[in-house]
């Protein structure tokens, strides 16, 4: 696929790829004397002009606190902020936009679940099931809950291909399992997990299902009803939105039964020194002034994604990823980590005899931004016996030329260390 290839999908607005790239001003710059090649989108995506404009217009025209304001600016800001719930609900096929809780990001969303319904449902001797592929954000909150409650954290193993091994799922999931929390896509190696199968099994033992969609929401269509999950968490900044925006979606009957998390303004119905009654879902989980601008920006990011279509985005990224995997696999002294049947967005690798951190520095000197490190997945790195890997990750604005630059930068790294 070249720069001129259209991202096309029947029934959706057709956008030329060259146009898409030009919508991301941050991509248009020179780094260490080379045009920027941004291959770190799994860490955070660049932001299109429409998202920047939404942030700008909120701060320039509608800047005001939301809810309870009788003046025009507050009404406008409130409408814009609340309107984003509808957009999120549409994106993930939720039936009720009140099931959408705004948070700072995936990490906060998962912590919210762990600290509220987690404390209600998990007791001594109970079990929580996660997987070897998880990001620390989907490990540590559950570990903390287990420590507090005297519960046990169990882990679905993974194979050398970087896929979850589900052979023993029926023993890992048992009558003690209270919560199953799984990442949709591995941030470290890009594996797409069969979460539907895991959630169906979890349902049979009565466990709650939590989906960490941080790495999938901008790459794969997500349907919370089809996946049959109870909670879904994602971050705005990995889907072309601003940092500081995030979502926890949960089933209404669960959200309704949950205690509030943080106490403060905006999450109450009435307060007296004798006691407080809480606001309805979702506002009872949104104490204090939220990041209004970031949420409005998230709305623009969802509009951006839908204007192209997730299927079209996925198809475009998959061509690039498959091409990268093929070409990287042919590089002498390079080992790709994991070989999952289904992989989106990211590929992780190491170069023989060169530490990933050194590769990262050398690539940066060529203008190529990749991530070198443990990717907040230290248990997975331990499984592969590696301190770190190099990860290249793609987004809608990525192009074939990026893969070529990546390969050239790898040769530079090899030359420096020859």
């Amino acid at each position: 696929m070249n720069r001129q290839s259209p991202i096309d999908e029947p029934g959706q607005a057709s956008v030329e790829l060259s146009t898409v790239r030009s919508l991301f001003p941050c991509l248009d710059q020179v780094v260490h004397g080379h045009p920027l090649v941004y291959l770190d989108s799994a860490a955070t995506t660049q932001k299109p002009t429409s998202v920047l404009a939404a942030l700008n217009s909120y701060y320039r025209e509608d800047c005001s606190n939301i809810h309870r304001g009788v003046h025009l600016l507050s009404e406008k800001a409130t409408a814009r902020y609340e309107g984003v719930r509808e957009k999120v609900a549409g994106l993930i096929n939720a039936t009720d936009s009140r099931e959408v809780v705004f948070t700072r990001g995936t990490t906060e969303s998962i912590n919210l679940v762990a600290r509220t319904i987690g404390r209600d449902r998990v007791g001594a001797g109970d079990e929580i099931l996660i997987s070897t592929l998880e990001h620390h954000a989907n490990i540590v909150p559950w570990q903390m809950l287990c420590q507090e409650m005297g519960a046990v954290l169990r882990v679905i193993p993974c194979s050398d291909d970087g896929e979850l091994v589900l052979d023993d799922l029926d023993t890992l999931l048992n009558e003690k399992t209270r919560i199953v929390s799984i990442g949709h896509v591995s941030n470290a190696i890009g594996t797409v997990n069969n979460v539907k199968l895991i959630f169906q099994a979890a349902r049979r033992v009565g466990a709650l299902n939590v989906l960490d969609a941080a790495q999938s929401v901008s790459h794969l269509p997500i349907d919370v009803q089809d996946l049959d999950c109870d909670f879904l968490a994602f971050s705005g900044h990995k889907m072309y939105g601003p940092t500081g925006s995030g979502v926890l979606w949960g089933r209404m009957e669960l959200l309704d039964s949950m205690p509030p998390w943080q106490g403060g303004g905006d999450m109450i119905r009435s307060v007296s020194f004798d006691g407080t009654t809480y606001a309805d879902v979702p506002w009872k989980f949104e104490a204090g002034t939220p990041d209004i601008g970031a949420v409005i920006g998230l709305g623009a990011a969802i509009d951006f994604i839908r204007s192209i279509g997730l299927e079209a985005i996925q198809a475009h990224e998959q061509v690039l990823l498959d091409d990268a995997v093929l070409k990287l696999g042919a590089v002498e002294g390079l080992r790709i980590i994991g070989n999952p049947v289904e992989r989106v967005s990211s590929v992780s690798f190491i170069l023989e005899g060169i530490h990933p951190h050194d590769v990262g520095t050398i690539m940066d000197q060529s203008g190529v931004a990749i991530r070198a490190g443990h990717h907040c997945a230290m248990p997975l790195m331990k499984y592969f016996g590696l301190p770190a890997t190099i990860r290249a990750s793609f987004a809608v604005y990525s192009e074939t030329a990026d893969v070529i630059s990546l390969l050239e930068a790898i040769e530079t790294a090899k030359a420096v260390f020859r």
Binding site: H357, T361, A372, G373, F417
Partner: protein, 150 residues
């Protein structure tokens, strides 16, 4: 490429491939561990400090990038036989070179440390070069726990 050659000087590459004084020593009486969570670099340093405060033996073990491995390897070479007080002064000078005014350590026998002068142009790599030094100071201070660069 010129900045890269400045950073990855031949001596750094050579020490990273064949680190000196690698592995525990039998008569160690001080040790410490260091960790850089950013890149996963781990280092453990082993010292034999005599009653006069002279570092008679220095060795290290660990895995890390070329900069951190070479820094550890060269450190063990240039500091062996020096007094604890002098080592602390050299650390201060080394830090000045990689993260301060850039001037290299001045005293005799420290020429090899100058190969890390290029690190100054790579702020994200300063911790790689200094991790083993912080770990060494931790060992000399006889403090428990692990040094962390973050």
């Amino acid at each position: 490429m010129s900045d890269l050659r400045e950073l990855y000087q031949e001596m750094i590459l050579e020490h990273s491939r064949s680190p000196r004084n690698f592995g525990p020593i039998e008569n160690q009486n001080l040790s410490a561990r260091g960790y850089n969570p950013l890149c996963g670099d781990e280092v453990e340093i082993f010292l034999h400090r005599d009653s006069a405060g002279i570092l008679q033996e220095i060795a290290f073990e660990g895995c890390g990038c070329a900069i951190s491995t070479a820094s550890a390897s060269i450190l063990t070479e240039v500091l062996k036989g020096r007094s604890e007080a002098e080592v602390r002064e050299i650390f201060s000078e080394f830090r000045g070179m990689v993260a301060g005014d850039g001037s290299p350590p001045s005293r005799d026998g420290l020429m090899k440390l100058k190969v890390f002068g290029g690190v100054k142009e790579f702020p994200s790599r300063v911790k790689c070069a200094t991790l083993v030094w912080h770990t060494l100071i931790q060992a000399l201070d006889e403090q428990d726990g692990e040094v962390c660069t973050e």
